[in-house]
Amino acid sequence: MSGAWFVLARVARDRSALLGLVLILGLVVVAVGAPLFATHPEDVFELHPAKRLRAPSAEAWLGTDRMGSDIYSRLLFGARITIVIGVIAVGASLIIGVPVGLVAGYYQNWFSDLLMRVSDVFLAVPQVVLAIAIAQTLGPSLPNVILALSVTYWPWFARIVYAETRSLQKEVFIESTAALGASPWRLTALHVLPNIVSPIIVRASIGMGFTILTAAALGFLGLGPPPPTPEWGRTIAEAREFLPDAWWYALAPGLAIFLTVMGFNLLGDGLRDVLDPRLRRGRSAPDG
C-alpha cells in the first residue's frame, strides 16, 4: 500500500522515531540471530560453577552470572522471550479489544454500556496486581504470563476503538451510508475500520513497551518463566544478591529492557505524530 510507504517516509524524517525503528529492528535481528551472535549459545542450559561471577572480559563480554553462564549470550536468548511475550500478548489484546470496542461503539445501547463497564472493571485494579494474581494462580510459566498480560491489556484497545467508533458514528458520511441501507458489516469493514487503524497501530506500539515492562516485573517477582529460562526480569532478580560487587550482572538486563522499551515508545510517538496529531490531546490516549 502506498499509504504505508508514505507513513514510513514521514517517520524516517523524524529522527527520534527513526532511532526507535532502528532499536526495534536491532532487537528483532538479535533475537532471531541469537545462536549466531552469542559467544556461548550453550549457556542457556549449561552451568560452569567454577567460572561464576567473573567481571566482563574477552571470554565473557558482559561477565558471568551466579552459575558461571555467559551473561551476554543469555541476554540475547532473553530477547527472544521478550519479543514472543510482547507480540503475542499485544496481539491477543488487540484481537479481543478491537471487536469489543467496535460492537460497543456501533450499538449505542445498554449492551455497549455494559461492555465498557466490563472493561472498566479490568482497568479498576492496577494492572500489575491483576497480572500478578493471574500469574500466581495459574503458576509461573511463559504461556501464563502471556495470558495474564493479554487479559489486563485488552481494555485499552477496546476504549480507543469505542471512542473512535462513537465519534465516527456522528460523521455525516456514516449516517448517510446507513440511511442508504448499507449493512453494519459493510459499514464497519469499508468505512469504520480504515479510520481506526491508525490509533490502533499507535496504541499497539506503545502497548508493546508497557507490556514488556510488566512482563519484566512479573519475571522479577518470580512469576515469569522458571529457571533456567534467561528472561530479563528474572535475571535482574537473580543479580540482586550479588550487588554491589557484580554490578554488571544487574546492569546489563536492565539496559536491554530500557533500549527495547525505548525503541517501541519512540516509534509509537513518531507514528502518533504522523498518523493522527489529534490524538496528542486525547484523554484516552495516555502512555501505559
Binding site: L47, G139, P140
Partner: protein
C-alpha cells in the same frame, strides 16, 4: 513582670519539665537483624530456628542445650529420675525461680505448659504428642513434676528443653473461649527468661529488657536491652553490620556476603561446625521414583563439588548420609554418591521403570540457595537424559504440599536444622514410615527393616545400641538412594567485634544473649 520576662520563665519551666521527663537511656544495647519475622511471642506456637530468639531469651525450660557439641544442662530443673521401665520421668525444680511478674515457678506451671503445648497442637506438639498423652502429666508438689510417657522414648530428654514454662495463673487470667490465652500471648510475655518483653510489633520485631531477678546469676557485665529486628534482605543485614546498625545477624549467609563481613573492621566472624543438612527429598511413592535404579541415577546426577566448593565457596562440608557428619550414629565407611553422569545413565538403563515424563523439582521462594541447587540438579538430570520442571512455593505452602505423596513434588530441596541434638531429628523423622505427613518425611519412604531399626533406637537408652541401629539404618537408606544429601552447614556468625561471651549451639545459633557483654 514584663512580657519578655514571663516568656523566659515559661521557656525555662518547659525545658526543665521536658528534660526531667526525658527517658533514661539504657546503658548497653544490642540489635540483632533477623531474616524471618517474629509473628508471634508465644513460645508454644513456633518451633523453628528462625524465631528461636523469643524462646531462648524470654522463657526457660527444664533443661537447656548449651555449647557445641551440644550438652544438656540443668536449667529450671536441678535433676531428674527415670523409672526402670523408661516410662516415668520425674523432675525436681530448683527453688526460688520466679516469673517476670514476680510469682514463683511451681510444678503446676510446668504441668500447665505441657498440657498447653499438646492442646494447641503447634510447635513442638507434633513431636511431644508421640511421647506424652494429654492429662497424664502430674505436678506432685510445688517443686516436682512427673511425665508419664506412652512408650519408652530415648529422645524425650533431648526434646524436654522445648517445653518452655509459661505462667499458668497469668494465662488463665487472659483466657478467652478456651484458647489457653493464645490470643493474648501472641503479643505479650508470660515467661521467666533472662529478658522480659518491653516492646513488640509483628512487622518490626521485639525489644526486651534485662530481668535482674533471673534464677541464673548474672556476670559482672551484661547487656541491658536487646532488640531483635526483622531485616529481610541479605544485603541490608550485611550493610547494617558493616555500618554498625546491628551487632549480630544470622550465621548462614551466602559465601560472598561472609567474605565482605570478614573485611569489615568492626565485625568478627565466629566459625563453628553446625548441624544443618541440605538435601533433596525424593518422593519414593511416585513412579518412576519407585524404582531404586532411577533414584540412584538421580543421586549420581547432582554436581556436589560444583555446588559445595564453587557456588558456596567451600563453606560447607559434603554430607553423604542423612545424619550430620559431626554427630554420632554416622556410618563412617559410607562414601555416598558422586557426580557421575555416566553412572547415572547406566543406572537408568538398568531401571525397570522408564522415565517418560519431566520430573518436578521444587524449591523455596525467597531462598535463592534452593533455587540454585534446583538449577544444578536440573542441569545434571538433563545431561543424564531426564527432563525437569522447576516449581517454587513459599515454605508454608511447600510444607502443605509435602503432607501427601500425591501433592508433593518429585524432588524438593530444603534444610533440616537441629531441633534437638539426636540422630532421630534427622534420619528417624525422615525415614520412618510412621512420620509420613510431616515436613521432614516427604521422602514417603517405607521399609519395614528401617522402621524396626529406628524403633529400636528410639526405645533403647543404651547409646551403643542406638548408635549401631542408626548406622545400619543409614547404610540401607543410602543403598536405597532414598534421598540426595548435599551438605552439612558451617556456621559463620557475624558479630560486633567488641562483643564477648557468645555461646554458640546448633540449637539456638548463639542467640542466647544472657552470656554476652561488651568488652572494653
Amino acid at each position: 513582670m514584663s512580657q519578655r520576662r514571663s516568656w523566659l520563665v515559661v521557656v525555662l519551666m518547659v525545658s526543665v519539665i521536658a528534660l526531667s521527663a526525658a527517658p533514661a537511656v539504657a546503658q548497653t544495647r544490642f540489635v540483632f537483624a533477623n531474616e524471618s519475622p517474629y509473628d508471634t511471642m508465644d513460645p508454644h506456637a513456633a518451633f523453628d530456628v528462625g524465631r528461636v530468639a523469643v524462646r531462648l531469651n524470654l522463657y526457660d525450660g527444664l533443661y537447656r542445650w548449651l555449647d557445641n557439641p551440644p550438652k544438656l544442662e540443668p536449667w529450671l530443673a536441678e535433676s531428674h529420675t527415670v523409672s526402670p521401665d523408661g516410662l516415668v520421668y520425674t523432675f525436681k525444680l530448683r527453688r526460688g525461680a520466679k516469673f517476670h511478674d514476680g510469682t514463683e515457678i511451681t510444678g503446676e506451671d510446668v504441668r500447665y505448659s505441657m498440657e498447653r503445648i499438646l492442646a494447641m497442637k503447634k510447635g513442638a506438639a507434633a513431636l511431644l504428642s508421640t511421647m506424652v498423652a494429654p492429662n497424664t502429666t502430674k505436678a506432685l508438689d510445688k517443686s516436682t513434676v512427673q511425665f508419664t510417657l506412652t512408650k519408652p522414648a530415648s529422645i524425650f530428654l533431648a526434646v524436654v528443653p522445648e517445653v518452655h514454662v509459661v505462667n499458668a495463673a497469668l494465662l488463665k487470667k487472659h483466657e478467652k473461649d478456651n484458647d489457653w490465652g493464645a490470643a493474648w500471648l501472641t503479643s505479650n510475655d508470660a515467661g521467666s527468661g533472662s529478658y522480659l518483653l518491653s516492646r513488640y510489633d509483628p512487622a518490626v520485631g521485639f525489644i526486651a529488657k534485662r530481668f535482674a531477678g533471673h534464677f541464673m546469676p548474672w556476670g559482672p557485665k551484661f547487656i541491658d536491652e536487646i532488640e531483635f529486628r526483622l531485616v529481610k534482605e541479605d544485603n541490608t543485614r550485611v550493610l547494617g553490620m558493616i555500618k554498625g546498625d546491628y551487632q549480630g545477624t544470622g550465621g548462614y549467609l551466602p559465601n560472598d556476603q561472609v567474605k565482605r563481613l570478614r573485611e569489615a573492621p568492626n565485625v568478627k566472624i565466629i566459625e563453628q561446625e553446625s548441624m544443618r543438612i541440605m538435601m533433596f527429598q525424593v518422593n519414593n511413592q511416585r513412579a518412576p521414583l519407585t524404582d531404586v535404579n532411577v533414584r540412584r541415577a538421580i543421586s549420581y546426577a547432582f554436581d556436589y563439588d560444583g555446588f559445595n566448593k564453587e557456588i558456596l565457596g567451600g563453606t560447607v562440608e559434603r554430607n553423604p548420609v542423612p545424619i550430620p557428619n559431626n554427630l554420632w550414629g554416622v556410618p563412617k565407611d559410607v562414601k555416598g554418591y558422586t557426580y557421575d553422569i555416566d553412572r547415572a545413565k547406566a543406572e537408568l538403563a538398568k531401571a525397570k521403570t522408564k522415565v517418560d515424563r519431566p520430573l518436578t523439582v521444587g524449591y523455596l521462594q525467597g531462598f535463592s540457595q534452593t533455587e540454585q541447587a534446583a538449577t544444578v540438579m536440573a542441569n545434571g538430570l538433563r545431561k543424564a537424559g531426564i527432563e525437569t520442571k522447576l516449581v517454587s512455593e513459599l515454605w508454608p505452602a511447600m510444607v502443605e504440599r509435602m503432607k501427601k505423596p500425591e501433592t508433593s513434588p518429585d524432588l524438593v530441596v530444603y534444610w533440616i536444622s537441629t531441633y534437638y541434638a539426636d540422630p532421630n531429628n534427622w534420619i528417624g523423622e525422615m525415614f520412618h514410615s510412621g512420620q509420613w505427613g510431616t515436613f521432614k518425611a516427604s521422602s514417603f519412604y517405607k521399609n519395614p527393616k528401617v522402621d524396626d531399626l529406628l524403633d529400636t533406637a528410639l526405645k533403647s537408652t543404651d547409646k551403643k545400641v542406638r548408635e549401631k541401629a542408626y548406622q545400619d539404618a543409614a547404610r540401607i537408606v543410602v543403598e536405597d538412594a532414598a534421598g540426595v544429601w548435599i551438605y552439612n552447614t558451617k556456621y559463620f556468625g557475624p558479630w560486633a567485634k567488641t562483643l564477648e561471651g557468645i555461646r554458640f549451639s546448633p540449637i539456638g545459633n548463639g542467640q542466647e544473649m544472657r552470656w554476652v557483654y561488651y568488652a572494653k
